[in-house]
């Protein structure tokens, strides 16, 4: 029964310092990785910037044989799919979060878990489902319904006919993918609202919707924005689900049913076979995507931190 603690070979003060340095170094890895990402993509894309300059950002041609590259179609495609996905996903994310916060405990719990599972499904599965199931449904039912039955085809840019692939299909899948993320953040924001505020609103006769819209939403507006930016960031960088259904054509969109591409899809589609200047061009696209999503994430975290701070102080 001699369980005397072994004497450390290194003296404790020294090992303590070593541990501290190792821990700090590991934490610093976050900053190092972020810096490394920017640096490597910068270095990798340098030939492209030298060759095409900033005109690359607004160029619309894409012809690897003639060495013509322009980023505009991919950038516009990224922004367009993201914008449509947000428009489709924000209202349902908001109302589902609202409902789930006040839902009867049993059902609310189950449905919250179901939404979390929706977020856990790998994106390649969304892509495969999109390609084999949603694309035919869009082509045979949804697109004819929208343009013939509802006559939406007359609206400029909406498009008359499509083959199922394209911006609208990609945006639909993106909307389904980002909805659970945004809904989860919004749920947390709603839970943070002091119950005193909500009860006062109910007390003066507000309906649930009025309380939500005039009290909860105003109180947590920064958190809601944070949630929206989280969804925005995911939609910007989503690769596989979009790659499968967008059609992968390097052209500016002329309508919603048109096939196109996004930055992430272009990278996934071309990078493995790319060489020379084309690889640099793809690195440049990657850098643009990285900067876009870093900007969005910084805004998201800023807004979320602001709500956290407001809650922490009071």
């Amino acid at each position: 029964m001699t369980n005397i603690p072994r004497k450390s070979i290194i003296n404790p003060a020294c090992s303590d310092r070593l541990f501290r340095i190792a821990a700090a170094g590991s934490a610093f890895l976050v900053l190092a990785l972020l810096a490394g990402l920017l640096l490597q993509l910068g270095i990798g894309s340098a030939p492209a910037w030298r060759e095409f300059g900033f005109g690359f950002l607004i160029g619309t041609g894409w012809d690897p044989v003639a060495n013509v590259y322009g980023a505009l179609p991919a950038i516009v495609g990224t922004l367009l799919t993201t914008a449509i996905a947000l428009i489709l996903a924000i209202p349902p994310a908001f109302v589902t979060a609202l409902w789930l916060v006040d839902a009867p405990p049993g059902i609310g719990e189950i449905l919250s878990q179901a939404l979390d599972l929706l977020a856990a499904i790998p994106s390649v599965i969304y892509g495969m489902w999109g390609l084999f199931v949603l694309v035919p449904v869009m082509q045979n039912y949804v697109q004819p319904f929208l343009s013939e039955t509802l006559k939406l085809g007359k609206i400029p840019f909406f498009g008359e006919y499509g083959n199922g692939f394209g911006y609208l299909t990609a945006s639909l899948i993106l909307a389904l993918m980002i909805l659970p993320y945004m809904s989860a953040v919004m749920r947390n924001v709603f839970r943070m609202t002091p119950s005193m505020l909500r009860e006062s609103a109910f007390g003066i006769g507000c309906t649930r919707w009025e309380t939500a819209k005039d009290i909860v939403m105003r109180y947590g507006i920064r958190g809601l924005l944070g949630g929206i930016f989280i969804g925005l960031g995911r939609a910007l960088g989503e690769t596989m689900a979009v790659l499968f259904v967008i059609g992968n054509v390097m052209e500016l969109p002329d309508n919603l049913y048109a096939s196109g591409t996004t930055i992430a899809a272009t990278l996934a589609n071309n990078f493995a076979e790319a060489n020379g200047i084309m690889r640099a061009v793809l690195f440049a696209l990657g850098l643009i995507l990285l900067l876009l999503s870093l900007g969005v994430q910084v805004l998201a975290q800023y807004y979320l931190a602001m709500t956290g701070a407001a809650r922490g102080e009071k």
Binding site: P12, A13, S15, D16, L18, F19, R20, A23, A24, S26, A27, F28, L29, V30, L31, L33, L34, L37, Q40, L41, G44, P92, T96, L98, W99, L111, A114, L117, L118, A120, I121, P122, S123, V124, I125, G127, M128, L131, S183, T207, R208, E210, R234, G237, T239, M240, F244, A264, L267, A268, F271, L282, F283, G286, L289, L290, S293, Q297, A300, Q301
Partner: protein, 291 residues
């Protein structure tokens, strides 16, 4: 007692109507989201289950057009790549989390690192693939399972770091103070006392991070790439893996058999990820309710 004026009553009616409508819309939106999930899972299950057989798990994938291909090599490759990612990514993430919780609490540096880790969690995974390509695939003259692991490790790192920090902060300060008062060094306190009492939380964080990267495809496309061979050369050869197999079979193959095999692989990936996810949630919930 004046009676309520008719126009006011109409106002109330309208307000209640709006309220009810929004309530109905929320239920509608929820049903659509849940129906979408059920639809996806159902399709994967229905189409994937029919190709699953014993040989599907024992045969390697075959070149396009060859019959009787399985997914054994891709399954092994996925396990290799994921385990590699855990080995590379988790230790520094745990250490970093300890730093944030034990040494960097409330400091400017700690806040900056925490903020950056949050930002990093939202980074597009395809860009991480490019990064690893630049720093590993080019110098090593070709894709490898190791490069794939590194890409997944970069994705796991901020997730594990932040959950570790959160879990350690949940340990009461009294425990820290008692350990220090007994003469433990800060390092010993952190590892032996704090981490031990937050163990289940740390495991949960790691498992959720694994669930999150196990189905990742985009970063593997140009790091681990794809092959029909058994994954024998982890450090030097392209390594088969399930998500890229699904992608290859679904998009680049004209053969109906391979589409079917793709669905089978998709089913395996989905089950893997969802089971990991659900079991982690259940374990974590039980531990916390038990306290």
């Amino acid at each position: 007692m004046t009676a309520i004026a008719p126009e006011k009553r109409r106002g109330l009616f309208r307000r209640k109507l709006v309220d009810r409508t929004v309530g109905l819309l929320s239920i509608l939106a929820l049903s659509i989201a849940v129906a979408g999930m059920v639809w996806i899972l159902w399709v994967v299950l229905a189409r994937g289950a029919s190709v699953i057989s014993l040989s599907f798990f024992t045969e390697p994938s075959k070149p396009y057009g060859a019959p009787d291909g399985g997914i054994a090599n891709a399954l092994l490759g996925t396990i290799e790549i994921t385990v590699g990612a855990i080995l590379i990514g988790v230790p520094p993430a745990l250490l970093g989390g300890i730093y944030l919780a034990e040494f960097g609490k409330g400091t400017k540096l700690g806040n900056a690192i925490r903020f950056s880790a949050n930002v990093m969690m939202g980074m597009p995974s395809v860009v991480v693939g490019l990064f690893i390509y630049a720093i590993l695939v080019i110098p090593m003259h070709g894709p490898s399972g190791f490069a794939g692991s590194a890409a997944l490790a970069v994705l796991m790192f901020p997730v594990v770091l932040r959950t570790t920090e959160d879990m350690l902060l949940m340990v009461p300060d009294a425990l820290r103070e008692s350990a220090l008062a007994l003469g433990c060094s800060r390092a010993r306190t952190a590892v032996r006392i704090i981490c031990r009492s937050a163990r289940s939380g740390l495991v949960t964080g790691i498992m959720l991070a694994i669930a999150r990267v196990a189905g990742e495809t985009a970063p593997l496309l140009f790091t681990a790439m794809w092959s029909d061979a058994w994954p024998k050369h982890y450090f030097s050869e392209p390594t088969a893996n399930l998500p890229v197999l699904v992608t290859e079979y679904a998009t680049n193959s004209p053969f109906e058999e391979q589409h079917a095999a793709g669905w089978g692989a998709a089913l395996v990936v989905t089950l893997l990820v969802l089971l990991l996810n659900i079991s982690t949630r259940i374990i974590f919930k039980e531990r916390h309710n038990g306290r």
